[in-house]
Symmetry: C2
Subunit: 460 residues, 2 copies
Amino acid sequence: MTASPTNSVLPALEGAIGASKVSAAREVLEEYSHDLGPIEAAAVPLAVVFAESVEDVQATVRACAAAGTRIVPRGAGSGLSGAAHAIENSIILSFERMNRILEIRPDDEVAVVEPGVINADLNAAAAEHGLMYAPDPASHGFSTIGGNIGTNAGGLRCAKYGVTRDSVLGLDVVLADGTLVRVGRGTFKGVAGYDLTGLLVGSEGTLGIVVAATVRLRYLPVAVRTIAAFYADFASAAAGVLAVGRARVQPAIMELMDAGSLADADRLNGSDLLSRGRALLLIQTDGFGAEPEAEVVRRVLAETGAALLDDDPEEAERLVFLRRNSRGIGQDSQFRVGEDVAVPRSRLVDYVHELERMAAEHRVDVKVVAHAGDGNLHPEFSVDPGSPDLAEAVTRLNEALDESIDVALAMGGTITGEHGVGSFKLRWLPLEQSERLRDLQHRIKDVFDPHGILNPGKAV
Amino acid sequence: MTASPTNSVLPALEGAIGASKVSAAREVLEEYSHDLGPIEAAAVPLAVVFAESVEDVQATVRACAAAGTRIVPRGAGSGLSGAAHAIENSIILSFERMNRILEIRPDDEVAVVEPGVINADLNAAAAEHGLMYAPDPASHGFSTIGGNIGTNAGGLRCAKYGVTRDSVLGLDVVLADGTLVRVGRGTFKGVAGYDLTGLLVGSEGTLGIVVAATVRLRYLPVAVRTIAAFYADFASAAAGVLAVGRARVQPAIMELMDAGSLADADRLNGSDLLSRGRALLLIQTDGFGAEPEAEVVRRVLAETGAALLDDDPEEAERLVFLRRNSRGIGQDSQFRVGEDVAVPRSRLVDYVHELERMAAEHRVDVKVVAHAGDGNLHPEFSVDPGSPDLAEAVTRLNEALDESIDVALAMGGTITGEHGVGSFKLRWLPLEQSERLRDLQHRIKDVFDPHGILNPGKAV
């Protein structure tokens, strides 16, 4: 009996890197078959590879290239768009064992890490030197630097400190034929050739596989002030966001929660946020100017009608913690989808009004949290999984989703602010980008991955 | 007589966009034939096109594509690496007439500009709203946003605010066949598809021609403090840079001038800087924390042996002005070449020691200014143009140049921190980037420009 190319990859992988780094156990295949994004076309991988070294990754890529097997790289599997979902004829390449911080050079303000390092672990190590790794997605406690790079993750602090791309200086990358290359640089500045680092960041493993990253560290702020402002409605809170901007204060964090999100938090935590207001604006200032900035913020928020939680910094901190963890780590499903549009900051209010309108029209529930400093909104649409006509409810949910995208684009926004296209948002990409633009990206993909084995069908 | 393709482009251009926008006058061709980078292979363009609209650019590209004529885009011609040098069978496409600020949206903190807008003009317009466009190359008084984008220009403020790439959100781009596409976004965050905006920024017009840019604006700081610190030697001043970092203060500007640069400034301005010290460290803090940050900076610099110009803020400001303009706008030549390496911050002192050693060994003059916050150095090498054996002097200069590159790379640095590869630094690119990496870039170039008409022989 001749083994099909598909079946032969497992022994080939075991031969190449050792059986202890490869699993085809059913429960492992199932566990690693998807990230937290909605699953539309479930697939089971042929194997899960637990690489322990750059050489393991190279050998894995070569074995897969020879067998025509596709490779889906995976950090913690905490992505929200399906970029790490298994596809037909694929293996999952997990980086959880490549989790060493290779170097921290405090005077250079640089760290070199393997892709499986947990974001929070890098921050803990950097903090010993008075430094931090700025990008802080809500998943920072469990997501990996490699996964953050694959999706160009944002987070709360990026209002002031930028997104993942802004902290990545250089990458070691295994190409589709197993060759190892180094792109970018080890210095803060550098313009030699095209910006391949930027091209790879956010490419969801479709162009190359990141096996090490040189990242810039920032100064751990000497002071932090947290301001919690409750408003009677979302529109007033959004006006507060613009007022802070007009006062020329750049907060490190500027988060908005609507009534639905506050109710959710109350249910989860036994708090009574909703009794204090129908919208919450959370602002952190940091650094040497934290206190004078906070004074200005308090003044302009009071002028926009906020009820300030003024004398209880611990409670304010606790609210930021609740906000950071408001999403939880639940799997999106056909009944509940978290969105990720971004609009120009001045359109925040208009956009939320539109969300409320379309929720009513399509009879779906919606609640919103927003990285308001960046105009990045996370509406969460849901329908009751116990609806009598479930198919009809899912249809209504999808109609609301599609409309929420159309409206964001009409306002000059984007379909994804920080979660990435993955597989789930591919249907909306043509609404944002012209055919020519998408064709250019596919041809760039062909340059890097001529045989289409690197996470095909994702990102572009 | 049949016109050669080369000769036919002039009437084709005049027919396509009108004779008033095309010149082939000898003095115009000469004036526009080069930027401020060293000229190694002088070429005269066939024509200079002064585009006034996107349609002019599209028509120009189509006419050149049909004639097989190459296109060299040009902002102000203030580049230092030859990216805007004319090449054989080329036209120069000048953007000086496309200099309108199309939009400033203060609440969105965004501006949309044509590529010919002067950097300082955009800053003046933004300042009316309490905003600024952060990237500030020394040429900001005359260089254009389009040119800044083409080279991914840095500047003084990028220690805190990042380089050009960090302020560009989206671009309108004319492709090699004349098609207009929009890449990127109008929002602060966005991760839809590959980062083509980042790929185009710094690509020196080799992938597409930027005809409009959406840029992020930052807050004009509410306060600025300037600290001028004279040191007995460069090593002590560089130690001051690291001390400020260890105190976790992020200055907006952190500039170093060595004794040669101070002597130069004295000669140009009639000042007496050199009598006050053999190295000058200039630091600006800004924002709400400017004063407490400046206090920390003054303390740690005093501890590293600095003589502070403490009680004369106007004089300190004047020194920053002198530093900004220390390079002048002179043309580099075979007798004088300004360099642009970057090294990890902790290697600043080592690198300058090496520079002094190689200057002595090769009997060339060297002086250095550095964007010390970024580890980006601008050594200027020169030999006496009146040397008896000129060819030998030029050889010595080039040997010193080559060695300065080797040493920077050996320290983990890059051949170009902010000026770009252009044509002049192509000879060093293989020292920094592997053949595979360069091949990938050439294949990306082929995707965008299959017939090689967009500024070929530059950047990669």
